[in-house]
């Protein structure tokens, strides 16, 4: 490149010192970590959480089951039973850590990849498969489970989350331990969308009880993080007037601790926090994607060493918090759950075509009624042979 080099200068280019600040890509260690990749427990001054062995085993169980169900969904897609699947492989700790940090009264607004959070919210894991199989567009009741529908339009849900959080404040449901909080999930790519930045503005101005949880899995489909930012994402928050923190997204303990604190701050009226969970999408963007076109194997391997499950297992083993019986039983349980899921997917009925006319409007519409009737009559002409 001879011309226009300026536009493509790497972030490390030589600059005046004022401009250098914050431009360096920080080492991975610039984040909150409680459990190292090799499974050692480390302390962090701001996030001093004790986990009982029971809790640790519980988190481990979630991680394993969530990964297993995800793998099953990927397999189902490969076999033609799902139209597409967006795997969470590699992001289990970010999702289980934050998902378990939610209190019962908290509300979550997911993207299309939050199967782990959905699981933590107690929703039947069959639910999202309807969307990906193409039999519905999200089956659960968002208000019942305090977990909104999956949102595919990038970033849109961050505004919904912020509005919901404004409503919490209006309801007077902030300021105590019983206060409610909201978590909005989104990816690294989403940070470029206007909506996400508008959500930051709103949350700040209205001091809303919302936690922005960005899973920075390093890619937006094929585009690496550098296409969205040249500084760490968590730093975005300060300019909007609220704290940002980066957490090791492959460390379930740290994700739990950081999210718990941010949610508790929010419910106590302290306003929003941005959490950047620094993680990696180990698989393809979706089953339709071919990541070998845009990233090299060695990068994936390097992240394998930081696997969220392996490190917790090492820790459990080292501290004798769990033994082989536990691990073996868990593996069986996961396999059973996955098998059950598979069976239920296979027996999911196709929707009745006429149902597509339902629920367009809460109070209905004569135009839709007429189209349904006409179409029903039309379909009947086939019943008698065409």
């Amino acid at each position: 490149m001879s011309k226009g080099d300026g536009a493509r200068q790497p972030a490390t280019a030589n600059r005046s010192s004022a401009r250098d600040e914050g431009r360096r890509k920080p080492p991975d260690t610039e984040f909150v970590q409680l459990l190292t990749p090799d499974g050692s427990r480390v302390e962090h001054p701001d996030y001093d959480v004790d986990f009982t062995d029971d809790e640790l085993r519980g988190l481990y169980r979630d991680l394993v089951i969530v990964r297993k169900l995800d793998a099953e969904a990927t397999a189902l897609q490969r076999q033609g039973e799902l139209g597409i699947w967006a795997s969470l492989l590699g992001q289990e700790a970010a999702q289980v850590g934050s998902g378990r940090a939610l209190r019962k009264q908290d509300m979550a607004f997911p993207t299309y990849r939050e199967h782990g959070v959905l699981y933590c919210r107690g929703i039947d894991p069959i639910m999202p498969l309807g969307l990906f199989r193409g039999v519905d567009q999200g089956g659960w009741d968002p208000n019942q489970h305090k977990f909104n529908m999956y949102t595919i339009v990038i970033g849109a849900q961050t505004l919904h989350a912020t509005g919901y959080a404004m409503g919490i404040a209006m309801d007077g449901k902030v300021g105590s331990d019983d206060g409610e909080a909201v978590i909005a999930y989104f990816g690294d790519g989403a940070t470029s969308q206007g909506d996400v930045n508008e959500a930051f503005v709103w949350a700040s101005v209205f001091n809303s009880p919302v936690v922005f949880f960005c899973q920075n899995n390093q890619y937006a489909i094929s585009e690496p993080l550098e296409r969205q930012t040249r500084v760490p994402l968590y730093q975005r928050a300060a300019g909007f007037g609220f704290p940002g923190v980066r957490v090791d997204g492959n460390d379930v303990l740290a994700c739990y601790a950081v999210t718990r604190k941010a949610l508790d701050d929010a419910r106590h009226g302290q306003g929003p926090t941005l959490i950047e969970a620094y993680t990696y999408r180990m698989g393809a963007h979706t089953t339709s994607d071919d990541p070998t076109r845009y990233r090299i194997a060695s990068e994936v391997e390097a992240w394998q060493a930081k696997d969220p499950i392996k490190r917790l297992r090492s820790y459990l083993e080292r501290t004798h918090a769990a033994d082989d019986t536990f691990f073996g039983a868990l593996e069986d349980e996961a396999a059973r759950e996955a098998g059950a899921l598979r069976e239920r997917v296979l027996s999911m009925p196709n929707p009745d075509p006429l149902e597509m006319f339902d629920h367009v409007y809460p109070t209905g519409s004569p135009e839709i009624d007429e189209q349904r009737e006409t179409f029903a009559r039309y379909l009947e002409t086939f019943a008698g042979g065409h």
Binding site: Q137, G163, H359, V360, T363
Partner: protein, 327 residues
């Protein structure tokens, strides 16, 4: 009975809605202290507080996006878009979220959101302040779209729009804000003429004229002028643009055999085409002439000093009536 301007009638309707239901919120740019650039929300923040009449940051996607969250939380947000031309930054939230959430959730979520949009030209404004974007919304399944044309309707329709669980895009004919009419504020909105229904506003047997929003008055003026020449125009205020309530139009056209549709929006892809197509399908053998459209031209809204030429007026409506009879 009170004599109110159309703008004041909406203001009173909003006030009533705020009184009737504590979940109703008003949100938008400058709707609070200022009372909106057209003063449609005048006095409401003073009386209902900053929690219920909310001056928002300056971002339309944010207004609609947060309104969605508030609606999921159980509120009934009434969002003001300051001018027609500024609704587009919110288009994604309206078309992909507001319109589709009830459907996507198989009925589990309801978004009783009203999006108020002052629309149309004729006020001598600069660019982006005189748009007629209603067809963009009427083509979007999951939204209901209405337009009021007179103070009495404005008063009841805004309340009905807020009361229904359907998301409603509510078009207000800004150049008619200052026109006065009788409003019976003692009639409950549930007793008033239904929201999603068109209405014959003048009887006549020679030709049918269908219009909505600001063009209803234009059509009525044309009817008055035509009557002097001995021609009786039946004028129908469509009121509901999605769903269209064309029953009264069919009935009328079967009598008159002629239809002229009037709107300010561009002709290409405007609602006039939809009305024409459906009326022709329904009344094929009754039509003495094709359905004619009197609309804005297929050009961007022009500079204010030529808007009177751009906008359909009495003469152009009468010209179309003449052409219909000349077929």
């Amino acid at each position: 009975m009170a004599t109110l301007t159309l703008g004041k009638a909406i203001n009173e309707g909003l006030r009533k809605a705020l009184e009737d239901d504590a979940k109703v919120l008003i949100m938008g740019e400058d709707v609070g202290k200022l009372g909106g650039v057209f003063r449609i929300t005048d006095g409401l923040q003073k009386d209902f507080g900053e929690e219920r009449v909310i001056d928002t940051p300056l971002a339309e996607s944010g207004i609609i996006g947060t309104a969605i969250g508030l609606a999921i939380r159980g509120y009934r947000p009434v969002c003001e878009i300051q001018f027609d031309g500024f609704v587009y930054p919110a288009y994604d939230q309206i078309v992909s979220q507001v319109a589709k959430m009830h459907y996507r959730s198989r009925g589990k979520l309801r978004l009783p959101i009203v999006i108020r949009i002052p629309f149309g030209g004729g006020i001598g404004a600069v660019e982006h302040h005189s748009e007629s974007p209603e067809a963009y919304f009427a083509h979007t399944a999951g939204l209901k779209v209405v337009a009021c044309s007179n103070p009495a309707d404005a008063y009841s329709m805004i309340q009905q729009a807020i009361a229904t669980d359907d998301p409603v895009v509510f078009f207000e004919p800004k150049r008619r804000y200052w026109e006065k009419g009788e409003v019976d504020t003692s009639v409950a909105h549930s007793e008033a003429y239904p929201l999603f229904a068109s209405r014959v506003v003048r009887r006549g047997n020679d030709v049918t004229v269908a219009a909505y929003g600001p063009m209803v008055k234009t059509a009525l003026d044309a009817a008055t002028a035509a009557a002097e020449e001995g021609r009786q125009l039946e004028v129908i205020d469509l009121r509901s643009l999605s769903p269209l309530d064309l029953g009264p139009v069919f009935e009328s056209v079967r009598r008159t055999g002629r239809l002229v549709v009037v709107h300010e929006a561009a002709r290409a892809g405007g609602l006039g085409g939809e009305v024409a197509a459906r009326v022709t399908e329904e009344c094929f053998y009754s039509l003495e002439a094709p359905v004619l459209r009197v609309t804005g031209f297929d050009i961007p809204y022009p500079a204010a000093r030529v808007e009177e030429e751009f906008l359909p007026d009495l003469d152009r409506v009468l010209d179309a009536v003449d052409r219909s009879f000349g077929w």
